[in-house]
Symmetry: C2
């Protein structure tokens, strides 16, 4: 099977023109096939404000009203997505922007209302594997906005980390998939005050120990748990790394952030 | 060769929820392959205003500043395009939204500055025929936003009528293409006060006469001239019709608006 990278970048890169340029330049150096999933960034909040649409957050999650759904459709599916596609085209990569509705790529259920009504938020149900495989086999580089689709509710807002891991797991049927979470640090650090103390590898052998030693704690635990569950579903590895160093992936003798595998 | 319809709808349909629903429902009844090109609508102007971006028009053409380019990227490429794709998916059509940057579909030159600087406006140079053919052959229904792409300037704003005719002419290499301009009337009328006075057919035989009789005049002349030039470049026919009646195209014994052919 051929290698495929599924790379997720967050708002901190999308919002920063310089970082974004470096990331895309390094991404375009890669020889292997890849899929890019992008997050939203602060620009959605700013545009919502300009339009008089209130940004409501409950427990760190965005509540997506109908008006806010329009904003994220525009900003994620239009502004950010088309900008990334255009930039990649100018770097010689034949990119294609996709949302969850395009080709019925990301089918979701609207999140059920329990204590909180999240509004137009989608929980991923299935990925149209054959469609995405076909796009990749045409030599195209998919750039995916974190929007899913439901036949009754239409476009739904979905967490970009989740979109990336669902896409990666679905593509494991056809490719040797590695999932890369690009963030602002060079990897998972042994000591937060030491930028060079990157943990090179987390596997089932050392994970419990790292938790006991309190090296991995708080918000990092669910992230690593998710990475393990993805690896168990057939991924080769998950990397947590500085997105700007993505070109290290194919550099002889280089290491890319923290590698999580079985 | 297989039949292909390239259908253009304007802002008057995109802006009107009821008309849009009827159009999409009728479109989804068609058995032949089709490509939909959509215009912008008043919503771009409204959102620009909300965001404090000035809408400047010179001689009926929108001047596209950098800020306005962001607005049309969002509104055409995101909001309207994803809404259409989502609605078509819910009607059982496997739609995919595309801008000119996606798959390098619509390559354009930035309009040269002469008397007027139109800003980020693109004049179509070439269509990536093989890409669009590949998408159609995958069984997908392309929904195209009127945005073109240039490697130096990025996303450019382009007239939707022009996008539709360039796409139609390019696809004539592989398909029996008919181009449909959907507008608010049932066809070209012999008498503007008589909605039923549709001219069924305009061809080289009767065109001069219709112009001499002042039946076709003013703004309609360049439209018909463009239609003839498209037909000369290999299209089967151009239809000017009520978009809401698109299903008449495949109805036994029915006639769709005004047909322009050689």
């Amino acid at each position: 099977m051929m290698d495929l990278l599924v790379i997720k970048i967050g708002g901190n890169i999308v919002d920063d023109k310089y970082k974004l340029r470096v990331f895309l330049k390094n991404l375009s150096k890669l020889k292997c096939k890849w899929v890019l999933v992008h997050g939203g960034g602060k620009i959605a909040t700013k545009i919502a404000k300009d339009m008089g649409v209130e940004s409501q957050m409950i427990e760190g999650r965005r509540i997506t009203s109908e008006a806010m759904r329009d904003v994220v459709s525009m900003v994620y599916g239009g502004l950010i997505n088309k900008q990334l596609v255009s930039d990649l085209q100018s770097l010689g990569k034949n990119a294609i922007g996709l949302s969850g509705a395009d080709g019925s790529l990301i089918n979701a259920e609207k999140r059920p209302v329990k204590n909180i009504d999240y509004g137009y938020v989608g929980d991923v149900e299935s990925i149209n594997k054959e469609f995405l495989k076909g796009i990749i086999e045409m030599g195209l580089c998919p750039v995916i906005a974190p929007l899913s689709y439901n036949p009754k509710w239409g476009i739904l807002n979905t967490n970009a980390d989740t979109v990336a891991s669902e896409i990666a797991k679905a593509m494991a049927k056809y490719f040797n998939v590695s999932l890369v979470y690009g963030f602002e640090k060079a990897g998972v650090l042994r000591d937060l005050n030491e930028p060079n103390s990157i943990i090179a590898e987390i596997n089932i052998g050392n994970y419990e120990e790292l938790k006991t030693q309190n090296v991995i704690f708080d918000g990092m635990i669910p992230k690593i748990d998710n990475a393990f569950s993805a690896v168990k579903e057939g991924l080769k590895a998950v990397y947590i790394c500085d997105a700007l160093q993505i070109d290290l992936m194919e550099q002889e003798g280089a290491r890319l952030g923290t590698k999580i595998s079985l």
